[in-house]
């Protein structure tokens, strides 16, 4: 797994959750997914296309999603619809901030709007796709990121430095 691709997701998730939840966060377990990933609860999927292509799932247990939604909406409790919208928007913010950081490294992308992920299984690694799960510990409970992606093209800097083919 190329950590230069993963680190922006870790940094972005850490920053977005710390800012949104106004509390401490800690990066917990990071594991490669060779087997099937099992969904924990309310999950949002975002597709990425460009120099690196893949999908990212943000996944929260229902009670964690409800707590996070209540904090972000400033209410005592949040129903399932609000929790779903909250998870989608959090996914949007984490992925948006991640691809911004990756773009600074020279990769270009297009990000698609989040969709609620209803399949029980997530994304597993394959010969050309690296997949991993990252757990972020927050005051509301653990939040999981299931990332699966593969390279399609060299980054801009490498393309610019490469001698022209004659």
């Amino acid at each position: 797994m190329r950590m230069d691709l993963i680190q922006p997701f870790i940094n972005a998730a850490d920053a977005v959750f710390a800012e949104s939840l106004q509390g401490p966060t800690k990066i917990g377990d990071l594991s490669m997914e060779e087997g099937a990933y099992r969904r924990k609860g309310i999950a949002a999927l975002i597709a990425i296309k460009g120099d690196i292509e893949g999908r990212v799932i943000l996944d929260l247990a229902p009670e964690v999603a409800s707590k996070v939604a209540a904090i972000l909406t400033g209410t005592e409790s949040a129903d399932e619809q609000i929790a779903r919208e909250t998870v989608c928007e959090l996914a949007n913010m984490v992925i948006g901030n991640s691809v911004t950081l990756l773009n600074d490294q020279g990769y270009t992308f297009k990000v698609f709007p989040p969709e609620i992920h209803t399949s029980d299984e997530g994304l597993r690694g394959s010969a050309d796709t690296e997949a991993m799960v990252l757990a972020i510990e927050t005051t509301c409970g653990n939040i999981f990121l299931n990332i699966a992606m593969h390279h399609l093209a060299r980054r801009r800097r490498e393309r610019d430095l490469a001698p022209a083919v004659r």
């Binding site: 800012e19 909406t73 928007e89 949007n92 913010m93 948006g96 901030n97 911004t100 698609f112």
Partner: protein, 150 residues
């Protein structure tokens, strides 16, 4: 939440905002902030096409526009709105904050860019700056939000 001095138009009326985001949650969050700044919501939209229709219907003072949306993305909506209404004041609000996106939005006519998660104090300063450029609006704060204005 900190208190903010109200951002008002020159005629002392509240600034009217069109809030465009495909996430209902994000729209509610932005609406809470603009109300905290003494503003009024002229309309809401969940995609670029609806945003154009809502702009024509409500003629807001400021548009707060997401970028990644279904049907029509924010940058294309900016281009179409500004083509018809060169005086439109549009601030992009997106989690995707890389240079190409920001430049594309500014080239199409957006006035500024705010990256999500939005901090109220950052959005406030940007709105103040964008309004200060508006001959029909007072960028300078004249009253505290929630205070009686006479």
């Amino acid at each position: 939440m900190p208190q903010f001095a109200a951002l008002l138009r020159k005629d002392s009326q509240p600034v009217r905002y069109l809030v465009v985001d495909d996430s209902v949650f994000a729209r509610k969050n932005i609406i809470k902030m603009v109300q905290l700044f003494g503003g009024e919501v002229a309309g809401e939209a969940g995609d670029g096409l609806t945003a154009i229709a809502e702009f024509n219907r409500t003629k807001p003072d400021i548009v707060l526009m997401d970028i990644t949306m279904p049907q029509m993305e924010g940058i294309e909506a900016v281009e179409r709105i500004v083509r018809q209404h060169p005086e439109a004041r549009i601030v992009m609000v997106s989690s995707v904050g890389y240079q190409e996106n920001i430049l594309a939005a500014l080239q199409k006519g957006a006035k500024h860019f705010v990256q999500k998660p939005v901090k109220p104090e950052v959005l406030y300063e940007i709105l103040r700056y964008v309004l200060s450029d508006d001959p029909s609006a007072a960028g300078a704060p004249v009253a505290l939000a929630g205070e009686h204005r006479s």
